[in-house]
Symmetry: C2
């Protein structure tokens, strides 16, 4: 499944990843939910009920989205500390559309967008498409280096700061409360907009949740993006944006020109999952499953990988970020790994400057525990061989 990796079009990684579609390859490459995580029976029941009811969903809807779903989402984001009216909610076809529409609404070519280093590769592609000047600011396991951010934001008069606040893609790190508060204050002080992408926030397996940066900023200069792709199903294509009313209105105009509105059928399905309490019951089940898989992968990494290799221990999400000594090229390792029937994403596309080739992103949600153990052993073998 090519999924969200396709942004790296034309490069060698894409070609290699085509091979990962073969059924006998263990792939840690995608960002895919586990195929047995979907609430199929509940979805079947809901779809039947929707088609047996008012067929109004087959007609055009409003660009903003189904009013009842917007209301449900205003309540849903209150759980992460965001106080929003349903008018401030826009239904999207995924949180990624929110990045695109925010750019459409806010950016002119040459405007500066600050991102985490490393960051989500498809976000980089979007910012490039809008002609942005992209500046990557490094950080640690608690979030971005905010002194460096303040300096870069002031120097470039940054328009936007894009972050993934929970279980970041690719690094797996989560912003600390202190850094969240500081970033929320910096936005007001320096005049940039925070685009807080949070597709994984509900998938926490240990520790306790921190409030959304956008909530700490009281949605004054912040946009919160959420998704049902990781907690229900990516195939339905439903996400949402919550932000200041003028920004949401500008994004609505952008969305009108793009796709008029998100699928009413998918919106109705998600609404019913929320109304019937299925979503609230479903998420802990996924968390139990993915948390176990994360632990299996962390154990396998500790068991098999050599001492000079390090990796993040994410409290949730889908990804572990592995750092090898600088002498390794993970892109080269990938070629050998695919021969050994295991795949992952090399670090380069998550950076802007060609660095990161000593890093790899491992997804732990899609493979089975047995596959995880086997796959990590294979990666260890490939690394060991590269040492010779």
């Amino acid at each position: 499944m090519a999924d969200r990796m396709q942004g790296m079009s034309g490069n060698i990684i894409r070609e290699i990843l085509k091979l990962t579609k073969k059924p006998d390859i263990i792939s840690f490459a995608g960002g895919l939910p586990s195929p047995d995580s979907f609430p199929v029976e509940e979805l079947r029941q809901i779809a039947g009920d929707i088609f047996a009811g008012d067929p109004g969903f087959l007609q055009y809807g409003t660009t903003e989205g189904l009013p009842e779903l917007r209301e449900s989402l205003a309540a849903w984001v209150a759980e992460v500390g965001i106080d929003a009216h349903s008018d401030q909610v826009l239904i999207l076809t995924g949180s990624q559309q929110g990045i695109d529409l925010a750019c459409k609404a806010l950016l002119n070519p040459g405007d500066t967008v600050i991102v985490e280093r490393p960051t989500y590769l498809a976000a980089i592609q979007i910012f490039k498409m809008y002609g942005a000047n992209i500046v990557a600011v490094p950080g640690d396991e608690r979030g971005m280096d905010l002194e460096a951010l303040a300096e870069a934001a002031a120097a470039h008069r940054a328009k936007m700061v894009y972050i993934i606040s929970n279980f970041q893609n690719p690094s797996g790190i989560t912003w600390s409360l202190e850094k969240r508060q500081q970033l929320a204050a910096l936005a007001d002080e320096l005049g940039f907009i925070i685009v807080e992408d949070d597709p994984y926030g509900r998938l926490r397996y240990s520790g306790s949740s921190e409030p959304a940066v956008s909530g700490l900023n009281r949605l004054k200069r912040s946009l919160y993006l959420g998704s049902f792709s990781k907690v229900v199903s990516p195939g339905l294509r439903i996400g949402y944006a919550v932000g200041p009313a003028p920004l949401i209105r500008a994004m609505v105009i952008g969305k009108q020109g793009t796709d008029v509105h998100s699928s009413n059928l998918s919106q109705r399905i998600v609404l019913e999952l929320m109304r019937r309490g299925i979503l609230a019951r479903h998420i802990p089940k996924i968390c139990a499953q993915y948390g176990m898989k994360r632990d299996v992968m962390l154990s396998a990494l500790a068991e098999h990988l050599p001492a000079q290799v390090s990796w993040t221990k994410p409290a949730g999400g889908l990804f572990i970020w592995v750092t090898l000594p600088q002498k390794y090229s993970v892109t080269k390792l990938l070629e050998r790994a695919v021969e050994e029937k295991v795949a992952f994403i090399p670090g380069i596309p998550f950076f802007l400057d060609g660095s990161g080739d000593n890093c790899m992103r491992l997804n732990f949600s899609n493979a089975s525990p047995e596959q995880i153990r086997t796959g990590i052993a294979r990666i260890a073998k490939v690394i060991a061989e590269a040492d010779k």
Copy 2:
């Protein structure tokens, strides 16, 4: 239902049209299919079968779209004279997304896009959003004035010519075979890309179909956009683009950044409608219904409107275009019309230069025959009063 009229944000028409959501208003304003035109029972059956089968559709899909649906569509467009491989088909969330992605792939700010005069108002909004220089070329009931087009295309080195070849929105006109052939040749000669939007082409109620301009051009410098919004359901959000492989690839990259892929569930539903022959049986039913409504509206116009008013007699589609003498302001008439509980779209937003206020677009697909007769009588009354 605000639907695709929302591009006129902020202006008086939008405010007036909000009133048309009231249930006792007869609205000829939208471009909505008839609510009783949806194949609800067939869709219910299909949805049940999809959820009872392989749940793979709940996972991420490829940006290009479901392979089986791309194949079905390659065969589907052969019926309008387009010879395409399934690799040249991109599944969209509606034909409108094709306009947006074509702009993303092809336009730089300042590039010239030539459109029909009048043309689809949301297309104007999209071209503006990409900073295009938009040039409107008038025509007659057989299509654009191609001498004027050739002159404008050469003078501005036009990148793109946007047309609606069948039952144009708003005018209802259909391009003649001769004009289609000439335009197809001009694209090769002058180097522009034809974006042929054809959401209504299958809704023909009289006369015989002409081949798509994109087929006549052999997809060399042309992009064909189709939709299931008018023949199945707009709420599912499925359309498609067919074009030269390099342009389709560029649009795929644009779509990756926007919404990753279209809803798999909606794609599967459309695929099954095609596979089971339901679509082929359904379209003649809609055509019978809408053709009857068109005739009712044409009769009512002939019965009620004064002699100095003229209108188009479309062979299909959803719209009749009414032209009043220059002394009338249809925007002003609309205010009075809404008081009389009837609504339509004034001509201005379909033009670039503020003209067209003596014109109105009437939709005949959404209202019942009885409502059509009553509504046209009310419009006649409002026009008569304005004469006093």
